[in-house]
Symmetry: C2
Subunit: 251 residues, 2 copies
């Protein structure tokens, strides 16, 4: 399944329906949303800290990250987003951006005007709740990051992160026999985990030496899920995914 083949509207509908089914008129409401699709090259900051955007974006394909910088110019990546995620949904009710949004790989992003979303929320309690819940799962991802970066040593941190990425790709049906697309340089991973590129390099060697993963050419393959999850102290329930339901089987 190629993520580029899913259109933004179905992707959003699949996401919003992933926890509990939507109502009768909700499909039509979603169809009435207007999108502006943009194809971004890698490393493009398209929303900045301090901005007060009048749209929220939906990642259609590729990887988008939220980030914040130290006074010395070091970057902390706050979260990593793939197809179906809405990394600045919060701007719907909190006007000022407290972080940047940047494409980590070439990415296709759909921009949805806030007025459209407000109209949707006013018209359907179920959609309103589904969007709210989406932002709550987002917060759960943040909590996982606080735990991971605060308590785990380098190698476990990487294992935890890869478990999360695997599971989220799996939920979209994006994991194939040879793993999933993971266009992250070691430097970028370091900025996610609060570690230097050298530590990431050694950590990834450690995971490979234990035959837990295989990383090559922007793809990651989990060879031993249980082992990796144990090593990274990963408990996937925080993602609040319906376990058996890869979200985008339909695509």
């Amino acid at each position: 399944m190629n993520p580029l083949n899913i259109d933004a509207r179905s992707l959003l509908e699949l996401r919003l329906a992933s926890h509990s089914p939507l109502g009768a008129g909700d499909h039509e409401l979603l169809s009435s949303l207007s999108f502006r699709i943009e194809d971004l090259p890698a490393r493009q900051i398209f929303i900045r800290e301090g901005d007060e955007p009048h749209h929220s974006c939906l990642v259609v394909s590729g990887v988008v990250v939220r980030s914040r910088y130290t006074a010395e110019g070091q970057r902390q990546i706050l979260s990593v987003h793939i197809a179906g995620d809405m990394p600045d949904l919060q701007s719907l009710h909190i006007s000022r951006m407290d972080h940047d949004l940047e494409s980590a790989s070439p990415a296709r992003v759909a921009f949805v005007p806030h007025p459209d979303l407000h109209r949707l929320c006013a018209a359907s309690t179920l959609l309103n709740t589904a969007l709210w819940r989406t932002s709550l799962v987002d917060a759960a991802l943040h909590r996982a990051a606080i735990f991971r970066n605060g308590q785990l040593e380098a190698t476990s941190r990487l294992a935890h992160f890869l478990c999360e990425m695997h599971l989220r790709h799996h939920a979209l049906g994006l994991v194939e026999k040879d793993g999933f697309a993971f266009p992250f340089s070691q430097e970028l991973i370091g900025e996610v985990l609060g570690l230097t590129i050298v530590s990431i390099n050694r950590a990834s060697q450690a995971l490979r030496a234990r035959d837990l993963i295989h990383m090559q050419r922007g793809r990651v393959q989990v060879l031993d899920w249980d082992g990796l999850a144990r090593f990274g102290q990963f408990d996937g329930t925080f993602l609040h995914l319906r376990q058996d339901a890869p979200m985008a089987r339909a695509g």
Copy 2:
């Protein structure tokens, strides 16, 4: 102003009205909420990871923390909550708790049944939005923690955390001439910042030596706000507080 003198209902109303004014009937709707008030001793876990509670709680006084444990039994505190916060508001739409809730000091907590909150949301778009926004500010606090714990060294981390605590207490009108109540042992601070008690001890000595803060008997006084904020690279706008409006002046 003694926080124990504010009742839970006004506290909640002040919080929900803190960003934008509520509507005409909203005060009555809030009055119809049913609460169960509980006074907890320090160090009491009152909601556990894996629980599926049918109420959300509001901190009326004292300090409540969200936490998760490593396999080795080390605790990471995910967030710190004071009066007016609703640390498990997310359980309204995500059934399973992904962390514990524990009193860090003697605390008064109000439990609001989910059906009451659902009724409120259904009856008032403004209240619905205000609650959603509350959970979005909660996520913004998480992002601040990811940045702080990922990029700052021990002393700056502590400075950043104390800035946040000061600002949040200030917004409630809880900062007096001799600072604000801060009933945190160094061990607990360490669990917030992902550091050991020894590092916290040395970091707090460093901040005191620079005349940035004064800490004694469970109180913290910020002596040099600008200096502390610079040292901790703290930018308070992420709290999304209305700057000039201490929330609970009414109390």
